[in-house]
C-alpha cells in the first residue's frame, strides 16, 4: 500500500475569538493520494478553507495528526512548515494574495528564489508566458485585473513544480469567463506537473472535474463521493 500524499487523522481545529472558543473542525480523517484531485465543498462556514489551511500548514490543528509526503506537519515549527511548503506545496487563494510591492515577475520568482533556483527569473518569465501574461511581467498587482492577478498567483504556485497544489476558491472572485479560464489553467498545470490537487469550491462544475469530492458541514465530513472526473 502506497503512502498517502496527504493524511489527516482525527484532526480538529478550534479558535479562540472575542466571542469565546469556536470549534471549526471535528475529528477529520482522510487521505489524499498522489496525483489525485480532491474537491472540498460545503456551505459557507462549514470549514472547507480551514481544512485546506491545515493541509498547507498555514494553520495549526488543535488535535489529531496531519502528514504530508510522510512528514508530520503537526510536529513542525513555523519555519520548518515554511520550508516544507517551499519544497513541496503551492497555494492559490480566492483573493490572489500577490505581494503589492512586487511586480508580476518578481511575485512568481519569489518561491523559486527561496528554493535557491539559479535561473529563478527565467523560469518565472516562462511560467508567466504559460499563463498568458508574459507581456505584463513588469506590472504591479494594482495594475492588473482580478483575472490577471489570479493567473499570476497560479503561475507563482506552480513555478516550483510542487508535489501538492492547494487552491482555495480560486475562481470565487472572478467572473464566469475568467473563472473558467483559471480552472483550465489550474487543471492543465496539475496535469503537466502531475501534482496532487486539493480544491475548495462552491462551483458544482468545478467539483465535477475532481476525482473525489468531500462535503463538509459544521466542521464534519458528511459525504464523500468518488467520481469519474469530467474533462
Amino acid at each position: 500500500m502506497t503512502i498517502p500524499t496527504l493524511s489527516l487523522k482525527q484532526t480538529s481545529l478550534s479558535l479562540n475569538g472575542n466571542a469565546g472558543r469556536v470549534d471549526i473542525l471535528h475529528d477529520i480523517t482522510l487521505d489524499v493520494h498522489r496525483g489525485e484531485t480532491l474537491g472540498l465543498i460545503g456551505p459557507s462556514g462549514s470549514g472547507k478553507s480551514s481544512l485546506l489551511m491545515l493541509m498547507g500548514g498555514l494553520e495549526q490543528s488543535t488535535g489529531g495528526q496531519i502528514t504530508a509526503l510522510g512528514h508530520d506537519l503537526t510536529a513542525m515549527d513555523e519555519d520548518a512548515l515554511a520550508r516544507f511548503r517551499r519544497d513541496h506545496m503551492g497555494v492559490v487563494f480566492q483573493s490572489f494574495h500577490l505581494i503589492p510591492t512586487m511586480t508580476a515577475l518578481e511575485n512568481v520568482a519569489t518561491p523559486l528564489e527561496l528554493a535557491g533556483v539559479a535561473d529563478a527569473f527565467d523560469r518565472a518569465a516562462a511560467e508567466l508566458d504559460t499563463v498568458g501574461l508574459g507581456h505584463r511581467a513588469g506590472h504591479y498587482p494594482a495594475q492588473l485585473s482580478g483575472g490577471e492577478q489570479q493567473r499570476v498567483a497560479l503561475a507563482r504556485a506552480s513555478a516550483p513544480r510542487p508535489d501538492i497544489l492547494l487552491a482555495d476558491e480560486p475562481t470565487g472572485n472572478l467572473d464566469e469567463t475568467n473563472g473558467a479560464a483559471i480552472m483550465d489553467l489550474l487543471f492543465g498545470l496539475r496535469d503537466r506537473h502531475g501534482a496532487t490537487l486539493v480544491l475548495v469550491t462552491h462551483a458544482p462544475e468545478l467539483a465535477a472535474r475532481c476525482d473525489r469530492v468531500i462535503t463538509l458541514r459544521d466542521g464534519r465530513i458528511i459525504d464523500e463521493t468518488a467520481q469519474e472526473a469530467a474533462e
Partner: protein
C-alpha cells in the same frame, strides 16, 4: 448646501474613535507643547525679572560710569533725586595668598561697597553673619567675602589672609548669595566683596585704572522712573553715564533670555515641522483607509465639496484636540516643574499660566496643521466612484489643485511672518525657514532617489531574496519611504546642524586660538611702571612678543554733528563706551587701507584712525568728524585713515586710535599682551605680580574657559530644543512603522506561504529599515553640515570645519533608530499565523 451634510458625515466617522490618530495627536501635541513650554518659561523669567527688578538691580535705579567716580554735579543730582544712595566700585584684580614663600594668585572681580550697600536685599554669607560685620574684618585687617570657586582655588579658609594690590584682607566668610549678582553681568573671575574705604592704600584705584562705578538710588515713593530716567539721560548721557532702573533691573539677562527664548522657539518650530511630516503621513494613511468609503459616498451622489468638508472637519477637529493637549502640556509642565526649574535658574521667575506664549504656540500649531494636512486632504477630491474597482494609488496626481497650493503658500507665509514678528529676528527666522525648506526638499529628493535606486537594485539583488524583498518594498508603490526619510531626516538634520554650529563655535573660541592668542592680558599698568614691565619681558627668551598700548574708554557721541545712534543705529561700536588708544607711530602688524597715518611729531587738531570693517558698517568716510566723550570731556576729531583690525586673535585691537596729542593729557593706564611659552607663564606672572602688585593679569586660557562654560550652557539649552525635535522625529518614525505594520504582516504571511522562514523575513525587514535609516542619516548629515556652515559663516561669522564625531553619531543614531522602530514592529507580522492574516483579507 454641503456643509451640514459634511458635519453629519464627519460626526458619524468620528464615532469610530481616535484609533489611528495617536501619532497625529502626539506629533502636533509635542510640537506645540515644546513651543508653549519654552514661551511659558521665558514669560516666567521675564515676569520674575520685572517683579524683582529693584532687588536684582540693588536699588530703584542705577547710574554707572567707566573709569571714574561721579562728578560733583552728577553726585549732587543723585543725592537730590534719591532718599538713599550707595556707591559701588567694580574692577578686576589679583587675589594673592602667600604660602610657604610662594604666592598663589587668582583673578577676581572685586566689588568694593560703601556702608549703604545693599539698598535692597541681603547677601547670604557662610558662616552666617552680617555684611558690615564681615567687611569690618578682624585683627586690625579689613574683611572680605569671596565666592566659593576662588576660596577653593586659593585653598583659603575663613580667617586666612590674602592680598589685593598692596592691601591685606582677612577672609571672613564665603559669599553664598549676592542679591544684585545678576545685574552685574558676565565677570572674568569669581566675586570678592570688600569695603571701598579699605582700598585706600591698595594702589588699585589709581587714575587711569580700569574700573567702573555704579551708584544705586533708592528713589522716593511715587517717583516716575521714565521721567527720572529721561532727566538723567538728558543731563549726563553725553558724559558716558549709563542708566538702568527697576523696570528692567538686569537688562543683560533680560536680553539674553529674550534672545535665547526666541532661538529656542525657532528650534521648536523645526520640531513642529518634523511633527507636520508625521501629521501629513497620518492623514494620508487615514484617507487611504477611507478610499472605499469616499468612493462609496461618491457612488451615492456626494459631491467633491461635501467629501472635502467631511474630512477637513474631522482633521480640523483632531488638530484642535492635538493643539489643546499641547497647550495644556506646555502651559502646565513648567508650572508643575517650577520648584525644579527655579532651583537651577540664576534669576527669579514667576511660574504661572501665561496666555501670550500659549496663543503664540496655538497659532503655530494651527498653521502647521493647515499647511501639512491640506495637501493630503485635497486628494479626497480625486477619489472617484470607480476607485472602488481600481487601486486608488495608481490614479492620484502629484500636485493638488492650484487653489489648495495657494492656501498652503499663504499659510506658510503667515507662519514665517508671525515667527519673525514673535521672535523679533526676521533674519534668524528666514534662515531657519530657508534651512527647513531646503532640508525638506533635499529629503524629498533623497526619498525619490532611494526609491529609484532600490528599483534598480531589485534586479541586481536577484538570487538574494531578503535583499530583493527589502529593495522591492522600498521601491514599491505603498512603502512609507518618503515619510520615514522626511521625518527622521528632518529631526536628524536639525540635531546635526545644532551639533555642527555648537562644535564650530567652541572650536572658534577655544580650539584655534592657542596658536595665535597671547598668554596673558595685563591691565592697569601705570605709565611709570611700563619701563620696568617691558624690561622684565624683553630679556626673557621664552617671550616671543609683547604688545602694549595706552588704554582709555570713551563714548562716540556724534558723527558729523548728528547723534551717533541716529546715524549708526544699534551698531555695537556706538553702543556704550569703547576702548580707545593713541599712538605716534603706526603699530607693527597694522595695515592702513585708506588715508594716511599722522606724522610722528604731529601736534595739530585731533585725528582718528578707524577700524576699516567697522567704518564700512557704520558708513563712515575719510574726513568725517566724530565727537568722543572721554572721562566726561568731549573731543572732536577727524577720521584721517582706516586700518585693518583683527578682533579674532584675542590680541590688542582698538576701533579708535587717536594721535597722542589728542589724549595724552587724560589720565590713563596701559594694557599689554604677552606671548610666551606655556612653561614660562607661571614665572612671568610671579615676577610681574610681585614687582607690580596693582597690575591685574588675565590668563587668556582661563578667560576662554569661562566663555566656553557659558557657551556650554547655551549649547545644553539648544540641545534640549533639538532633542524635542528629534523625539518628534522618532514619534513620526514609529508612526510610519506602525502604519506599515499591517502591510508587513500581510507580506510576511504571503512569504511564509511561499516557504520563507521567519529569519529571512526578519532580515528583509531589518535591511529595509537600515537602508531608510542610512538614507535619512546621510541626508541629515549633508543638510546639517550645510546648515551649520551657513549659520557659522553668515550669522556667527566664524570659520567652519566639519565636526566628524558629532556628524557620525547623528548618522549612526538615525540608522539605529530606524532599525529599532522597524524591528519593534516586525514581531507582530512574524508571529502572526498566515492563515488568519490571509483569510482576514478574503
Amino acid at each position: 448646501m454641503s456643509l451640514p451634510l459634511a458635519v453629519k458625515f464627519a460626526r458619524r466617522e468620528l464615532r469610530g474613535g481616535l484609533r489611528g490618530f495617536r501619532i497625529f495627536l502626539a506629533c502636533l501635541a509635542l510640537g506645540v507643547a515644546a513651543i508653549a513650554a519654552v514661551g511659558s518659561i521665558r514669560a516666567s523669567i521675564e515676569a520674575g525679572l520685572a517683579q524683582e527688578g529693584a532687588a536684582l538691580l540693588g536699588g530703584d535705579a542705577q547710574m554707572a560710569f567707566t573709569y571714574r567716580f561721579a562728578s560733583n554735579t552728577e553726585r549732587a543730582w543723585m543725592q537730590d533725586a534719591s532718599v538713599r544712595l550707595s556707591e559701588i566700585v567694580d574692577f578686576r584684580s589679583m587675589a594673592v595668598v602667600d604660602r610657604d614663600g610662594q604666592a598663589e594668585r587668582g583673578l577676581t572681580q572685586v566689588k568694593a561697597v560703601d556702608d549703604a550697600y545693599p539698598l535692597i536685599g541681603t547677601p547670604r554669607l557662610d558662616p552666617d553673619m552680617s555684611l558690615p560685620d564681615a567687611l569690618a574684618g578682624a585683627d586690625g585687617l579689613p574683611g572680605a567675602v569671596m565666592e566659593r570657586a576662588l576660596i577653593d582655588r586659593l585653598g583659603l579658609s575663613t580667617g586666612d589672609t590674602f592680598r589685593l594690590g598692596t592691601q591685606d584682607f582677612v577672609l571672613m566668610a564665603m559669599l553664598a548669595h549676592e542679591p544684585d549678582g545678576a545685574a552685574d553681568g558676565f565677570g572674568l573671575g569669581p566675586r570678592t566683596l570688600v569695603a571701598t574705604r579699605a582700598l585706600d592704600g591698595s594702589g588699585l584705584l589709581a587714575p587711569g585704572s580700569l574700573f567702573s562705578t555704579k551708584y544705586r538710588l533708592d528713589l522716593p515713593d511715587g517717583t516716575d522712573l521714565a521721567t527720572t530716567a529721561d532727566s538723567a539721560r538728558a543731563q549726563f548721557e553725553q558724559t558716558g553715564m549709563r542708566w538702568t532702573d527697576a523696570r528692567n533691573g538686569a537688562p543683560g539677562v533680560a536680553l539674553f533670555v529674550q534672545r535665547l527664548g526666541a532661538f529656542l522657539i525657532l528650534v521648536g518650530l523645526s520640531g513642529l515641522a518634523v511633527g507636520g511630516v508625521g501629521v501629513s503621513a497620518a492623514v494620508r494613511a487615514y484617507l487611504a483607509d477611507k478610499t472605499s468609503v469616499i468612493a462609496t459616498l461618491r457612488t451615492l451622489g456626494a459631491d467633491r465639496a461635501t467629501i472635502f468638508q467631511t474630512y477637513f472637519l474631522q482633521i480640523g477637529l483632531l488638530s484642535l484636540l492635538g493643539i489643546a493637549i499641547g497647550l495644556a502640556l506646555g502651559g502646565l509642565v513648567p508650572v508643575l516643574l517650577a520648584p525644579l526649574i527655579t532651583g537651577r535658574l540664576p534669576v527669579p521667575a514667576v511660574f504661572t499660566i501665561y496666555p501670550a506664549p500659549l496663543i503664540e504656540a496655538g497659532i503655530y500649531g494651527l498653521l502647521t496643521a493647515l499647511i501639512f494636512t491640506l495637501w493630503p486632504l485635497a486628494r479626497t477630491e480625486e477619489v472617484r466612484a470607480a476607485t472602488l474597482f481600481r487601486d486608488a494609488l495608481s490614479t492620484t496626481r502629484l500636485l493638488p489643485p492650484l487653489r489648495y497650493l495657494l492656501v498652503i503658500a499663504l499659510g506658510l507665509a503667515a507662519l514665517v511672518g508671525l515667527a519673525a514678528w514673535f521672535s523679533g529676528s526676521a533674519r534668524l527666522t528666514l534662515w531657519t525657514t530657508g534651512g527647513l525648506i531646503g532640508a525638506l526638499l533635499l529629503l524629498a529628493v533623497a526619498a525619490f532617489a532611494i526609491r529609484a535606486l532600490a528599483r534598480l537594485g531589485t534586479s541586481a539583488a536577484r538570487g538574494r531574496p531578503a535583499l530583493r524583498w527589502a529593495l522591492a518594498a522600498i521601491a514599491g508603490p505603498r512603502e512609507g519611504a518618503g515619510s520615514v526619510v522626511l521625518s527622521l531626516g528632518l529631526g536628524l538634520s536639525v540635531l546635526a546642524a545644532v551639533g555642527q554650529i555648537d562644535g564650530n563655535l567652541r572650536r572658534a573660541i577655544s580650539g584655534n586660538l592657542p596658536d595665535i592668542a597671547p598668554s596673558y592680558f595685563f591691565i592697569d599698568i601705570q605709565k611709570d611702571q611700563m619701563p620696568g614691565f617691558t624690561k622684565r619681558l624683553e630679556n626673557d627668551p621664552a617671550v616671543s612678543r609683547i604688545d602694549s598700548a595706552p588704554m582709555l574708554r570713551g563714548v562716540i557721541t556724534t558723527i558729523n554733528g548728528k547723534p551717533a545712534q541716529e546715524v549708526a543705529g544699534d551698531h555695537w561700536v556706538v553702543r556704550g563706551d569703547r576702548g580707545i588708544t593713541y599712538a605716534a607711530d603706526l603699530p607693527a602688524r597694522t595695515r592702513i587701507t585708506a588715508g594716511e597715518w599722522w606724522p610722528p611729531d604731529y601736534t595739530g587738531p585731533p585725528q582718528i584712525s578707524f577700524a576699516a570693517e567697522e567704518a564700512g558698517e557704520l558708513g563712515l568716510s575719510l574726513g568725517d568728524t566724530l565727537s568722543v566723550n572721554i572721562m566726561g570731556r568731549d573731543i572732536a576729531a577727524t577720521i584721517t585713515s582706516f586700518r585693518e583690525v583683527d578682533f579674532s586673535t584675542a590680541g590688542i585691537g582698538f576701533v579708535l586710535t587717536m594721535n597722542p596729542g589728542a589724549l595724552a593729557g587724560a589720565p590713563h593706564s596701559f594694557i599689554s599682551t604677552v606671548y610666551a611659552k606655556p612653561e614660562a607663564e607661571a614665572q612671568i606672572l610671579r615676577d610681574l605680580a610681585g614687582q607690580f602688585p596693582n597690575i591685574t593679569a588675565i590668563r587668556v586660557r582661563d578667560a576662554i574657559d569661562r566663555v566656553s562654560n557659558v557657551l556650554a550652557g547655551l549649547a545644553a539649552a539648544t540641545s534640549w530644543g533639538a532633542a524635542a525635535t528629534l523625539l518628534t522625529g522618532f514619534l513620526v518614525l514609529i508612526g510610519a512603522a506602525a502604519a506599515g505594520e499591517s502591510a508587513r504582516t500581510y507580506e510576511a504571511a504571503v512569504l511564509k506561504t511561499l516557504g520563507a522562514a521567519r529569519r529571512r523575513i526578519l532580515l528583509s525587514f531589518a535591511l529595509r529599515a537600515a537602508f531608510l535609516g542610512i538614507a535619512a542619516g546621510l541626508v541629515a548629515l549633508l543638510a546639517g553640515i550645510a546648515g551649520g556652515w551657513a549659520v557659522s559663516t553668515y550669522v556667527l561669522e566664524t570659520d567652519f570645519s566639519i565636526i566628524w564625531p558629532s556628524a557620525i553619531t547623528i548618522v549612526a543614531g538615525g540608522v539605529i533608530a530606524t532599525l529599532l522602530a522597524g524591528l519593534g514592529f516586525a514581531w507582530g507580522p512574524l508571529a502572526a499565523r498566515p492563515a488568519q492574516v490571509l483569510r482576514a483579507r478574503e
